[in-house]
Symmetry: C2
Amino acid sequence: MPRVVRFHKFGGPEVLKLETLDVRAPGEDEVRIKVQALGLNRAEIVFREGKYLERDVDFPSQIGYEASGIVEAIGSKVSSCKVGDKVSTVPSFSMAKYGVYGDTAIVPASAVAHYPDNLSIFEATAIWMQYLTAYGALIEFGQTKTTDHVLITAASSSVGFAAIQTVKEIGATSIATTRSAEKKQALLDAGADHVIVTDEEDLERRVHQITGGRGSRIIFDPIAGTFLKDLADMAAPEATIFVYGALSMTSTPFPLMMALKKGLVIRGYTLFQITGNPERLARAKKYVFDRLQSGKLKPVLDKTFRLEEIADAHRHMQSNQQIGKIIVSVN
Amino acid sequence: MPRVVRFHKFGGPEVLKLETLDVRAPGEDEVRIKVQALGLNRAEIVFREGKYLERDVDFPSQIGYEASGIVEAIGSKVSSCKVGDKVSTVPSFSMAKYGVYGDTAIVPASAVAHYPDNLSIFEATAIWMQYLTAYGALIEFGQTKTTDHVLITAASSSVGFAAIQTVKEIGATSIATTRSAEKKQALLDAGADHVIVTDEEDLERRVHQITGGRGSRIIFDPIAGTFLKDLADMAAPEATIFVYGALSMTSTPFPLMMALKKGLVIRGYTLFQITGNPERLARAKKYVFDRLQSGKLKPVLDKTFRLEEIADAHRHMQSNQQIGKIIVSVN
């Protein structure tokens, strides 16, 4: 019988329960996957706490966006994959309805993607969320050019590493920030052109130096809050600031005077702007697949937990100690 | 001897003084204009109060962006116009250095433009600020399509009327807002597809109705403040909100959750993003000139004051009673 992680109320990591459920057949447009690995996302913490964009939850609720494994059953209308295929999931569904934490997951067929053969099963579960998120901001919307500086804040998350690698692939110049010196080497190893340790260095002065006084043309930030004002100060004329999260959890003043003076573009951005649009998604998946295959994009993996340790895995994610993707090995 | 309006300290309309100055020859890249009419802009109130983007002022300071008249002298390097030409000024200079209020104005040659023959001298001073501002947001950056709704707030300003006419020319659907019913007919006469009187109607509900629940794809707003949150609620998915002023004079919270949910683009925008870029300016001027000539764009004029009444003209602008451009007749 499938073992699936569910929670019966919003709360801390302890609300996550590993439960045994009956298996069901996939619906006509659905696919059932025998899960071999999970990749964790910060969105799942926020969802578990009841603070996510998706809040309309019937308890008990499933949870989880990224799984990789083997297709074990497909619905009658599914033609994009077949039983036995090695696949991973693209986050483009309701977690309450389709959450993938467990040894078995049912997801919409549109959310199932093949991954390149050169990836391990762990790497395969650390690709779509992070690289599609970076692609959407930096390429689809930001149209980053080789002459641009890209400021990547909170850069040691999986999305941060994906952004660093994508900037390198574009040929632009990345400036990655991290709070403590411990993570600096990992960011340099991932290809960051500059790393600023914010506990030790004056962020604005360093961005000023690195950009020759011009400021950064693209800023990619999951923090928001009062930090947005600082980012506006570090932005180049007509820069775009992508705000893709709300980590600060404080209110966010709009930097109006600087926005007027510099003609700044401040965009709210999530992955769903890519995964919810078939044309954009097709472009994005091809871009990412090809570069994973050639080794130009390569997931950075953090610690691996077992499925029984899912609450500990969440605690680890909340500790902000991780460098790259936290993995859960299933079976 | 030239009569020029100057002010010796920041303050209310009463600080504006009509003074007699010696005439000077234009510099090699400058043009001297015998001014026949002035058009007033709200930026000039904010400049006079010391709250404008340009605050670095040596007193006494000149003031004013828009004049029309006859070229009476040109610098040695000027080839874009000649003595006797009928011209008006494009706001693309420091007011402290080149303010045009007076019967004589010296401005950079790059800020001098010919206007179509079919315009009166008053109309000629009510074109560049308003139409270039609307063009830049709606066409250059916003790329408004015929299927778009465009929400124009504070629509009875000269820029508001210009935006209504530009939306009509594009073939999109405008929704103009005004506080009181008095100005409604003038907005309809200018071509607004919908007018919402905000003192009498529920703005959000009406926008919802008009857009079939989708929200407005472009929003063009000079108010900001807490109103930005309301605008985010009225925005379509992936809408762009152009904030081109700070009329509310209160702090502006960034609507983060709605920006993330809808993928909203919130842009600080000023005319200087057009006038400071020769390629954009050339495109914009051609667009506006051609449509003024064909009558598709036509300035809406408010009251006319005499130069001696400049303080009263400013008081009138601050009263918010005007409909369209306030004019000052010179001589």
